[in-house]
Symmetry: C3
Amino acid sequence: MSYIKNRWYCAAWGHEVVRDPFTRTLLNEKVVLYRTEQGHPVALSNVCPHRFAPMHQGRLRGDDIECPYHGLRFSPDGACALNPHGSMIPPGLRLKSYPVIDRYAMVWIWMGEADEADPALIPEFPAHDDGGYKTVGGMIPVKGSYQLVADNLLDLSHTQFLHPILVVPDDPETRVEHDILQDGDTITTIYNQRNTRPFGFTGLIWPDAPERLDGLSGVRWDAPANMLLKLHFVSRDPGDDRELRIWGAELVTPETETSCHYFWSASRNFRLDDDVFGQQLGDAIANVFRFEDGAMIAEVQANMGDETDLIAMRPVILPTDQAAIRARRIVGKLLRAEQNRKGEPKQVMAQL
Amino acid sequence: MSYIKNRWYCAAWGHEVVRDPFTRTLLNEKVVLYRTEQGHPVALSNVCPHRFAPMHQGRLRGDDIECPYHGLRFSPDGACALNPHGSMIPPGLRLKSYPVIDRYAMVWIWMGEADEADPALIPEFPAHDDGGYKTVGGMIPVKGSYQLVADNLLDLSHTQFLHPILVVPDDPETRVEHDILQDGDTITTIYNQRNTRPFGFTGLIWPDAPERLDGLSGVRWDAPANMLLKLHFVSRDPGDDRELRIWGAELVTPETETSCHYFWSASRNFRLDDDVFGQQLGDAIANVFRFEDGAMIAEVQANMGDETDLIAMRPVILPTDQAAIRARRIVGKLLRAEQNRKGEPKQVMAQL
Amino acid sequence: MSYIKNRWYCAAWGHEVVRDPFTRTLLNEKVVLYRTEQGHPVALSNVCPHRFAPMHQGRLRGDDIECPYHGLRFSPDGACALNPHGSMIPPGLRLKSYPVIDRYAMVWIWMGEADEADPALIPEFPAHDDGGYKTVGGMIPVKGSYQLVADNLLDLSHTQFLHPILVVPDDPETRVEHDILQDGDTITTIYNQRNTRPFGFTGLIWPDAPERLDGLSGVRWDAPANMLLKLHFVSRDPGDDRELRIWGAELVTPETETSCHYFWSASRNFRLDDDVFGQQLGDAIANVFRFEDGAMIAEVQANMGDETDLIAMRPVILPTDQAAIRARRIVGKLLRAEQNRKGEPKQVMAQL
């Protein structure tokens, strides 16, 4: 399997990246993450080019990281700063350095061509920085391809079957709206449940909910798999203008071909100062992702064996899969574009 | 490795298959097993053709099973009965359904061509249904090819080395009879130990055994690996007509190429109402199978690596291996017959 | 990966090989080790040629070993001594037998051509038998290629980074001497730290050490990876002739391509009768090997994936790697010589 390289991926929550180096595998590459004395994030290959030792077990020397095995030191730009066994530094002795940036409380990494790492390409997750919201979040390791997580979020109709807390009760008045919008390579799905009675999740977040309400859900997807989840609840009573909003950043970064890091958040516009509630909300959402979605995706991946391309297994396609299919087409298009570009020099030579 | 498809395999003990669906891998296929409201066993593929979700985690809706991920419902015959996301059911949306039948307290499954699933082909294990016997039994997962378990049972001479409780003491009067009979594709081995003194196992089941007795053992084998084990003990005293009979169903069903489900039973004609003794007898037999035969077979498989065909590894063959060799030849013959049949349409076309 | 076959490897500590058979995988071959009634070591294939049962689970019958599954008996020379199921012993029914010898308190094994197993080829480790020394030792399983352990010992400059207890304090007077000598296929490295102050390790072994001392270290390497480690400490005071010597046998035997058995010892010329100190010294050394070197080598192997040839991964080479590179060249040369020899008959035929 190949990965889209020239896009931003979430590497970590900002608070995870501290002075003490730690390692994470991203797109099958082992990366070490730490911060400089000034607080800037650094991402380097975690594999020393000398004897393949794991850099994250080494000490920081100022902003440089020291190999734990033979003491070679590397700067944040990857250059070897010191060979303690002689004055000579062999040419080519460097670690791969990755562009990284702090934004929206996350550390974003660019695994492709460094000179194309334009921060403007990071999709927007403004609630993380918005004083009108309070955010909880975390990261869930998932034993399945990152695309299976995107499939999951791009078809919210599964909530009626997989998530007891999200099941909307049978009611003749309730009406589902489902739509898919596409703007360039950005896909937005809508999954509104109009005129429902309160149910498990609204019971948790809205104890004094009105008798009838609208659940307005949706997902904005950008390649490779950075998603914004909307879970808003509005009173149906025209005299009741209450509206509970939860925005979620759902950022899925491949670890290996059959596993991924699933960064999630929930930013709420209500009960901002109630940290106990915030913890309960976070636990409820994390449990849904971990024990229901995550477990299901792991089972699906297990049923796929080592195959990573769901489409290659010729699944039966339902109308509800349309957004996921479109997202996979965009990923395929971007992958082919990267592969063609790698082929360019050859093509030029062929033209001469 | 390929498996014989057009034969009955034991899928489960009858009491294992209840309303609550459960999954078992048989011949490398993931199967879900449950019972209808009327109590009939159902066996379907456990992999939803939509998103490859594990069906056994879904709920039953009457006799239908509902996919736990997106709620598709399938009938016992495998047809999709409901698509909750629209009226349309895509053509070809079905689960593979397997013929299953309750017989001799077991659920038997046919993994091949459904129209050839003739119940008359199931070998007979009448003691399970015979009021003159009391049966205990279980299932032991074995980390070895199903054929290694058959090899084990088809050469009972190993009992003198592997099973302390079955070792017959050295005695100049004792005489071993060993024979092999074949009737069509059914092989029967005989391993009688004549004129022995009581030993460990007879001490357990026959505390007042006579001073000299005959141990009459044997195995009837039918392809792929459904065996009937005989362990009978008869007094040598002409005035003592006591005879303790144990019949065992030893039904070995491949799970993967290097693991299998070993269903075993012990049906006794004595101490029928003594359930404490029945438990002791069952534990003794299960421990012999699990910790001696099963452990040995796992070691043998480990020494074979990923190889599943013992013969391909060119073992030294002893005269005591003759029954096992014949059984492997019959399996090979049946496999080739199935493979040739698959080739038929091609051959017909070649003749035109 | 191929292994040098026609060299002596350490199979076990002498005291590990007793009457009770045990198994160890050496060069990817499963071997059973035991002693005859006379106390001579025996090494045979652990895989019975009949049904591939693990011989080490069998009983000894005098000097013969009995297969635990069907009771075949084999003599120390590998010949089948008894088939309990008939008088006939099939031709070719034997276990591979390996030359083994007790020397320097270790059992050495020859995995290649038996008629070339010349004990004079075993490198010397005389301190194990020298009354002026007291030896402690053990074996550490390492999850890395045996050559990575040799690399580790052939470049002792890593001690300054990996081993806190061995770090010599910064001191302007301290001077490092590093040299490499080669005599035929034997490599000797020197790593002396002259005029240091006492540090962690000398604190442990030499509480009344002088204020300034020389640490004289070095490694003698013989193919495939049998090493003699020198760790001597000498007072710098001309009137103080104290010298603490530790010799270590560091014998590395491949288990699989990516794991090895690391036999180590420490023979000291001081505090000979202090067994409590001997235990402390052994624990300190074992912990350094196990938790620092061994753990690092496992990380390096993990970073190499399934690759076993470090050089094939094109590491950056430092001057301190020179001894390790030379050792790998000698291994390569010996491997090619063995492979060419195997090819001889073919070449002869081609010449005819």
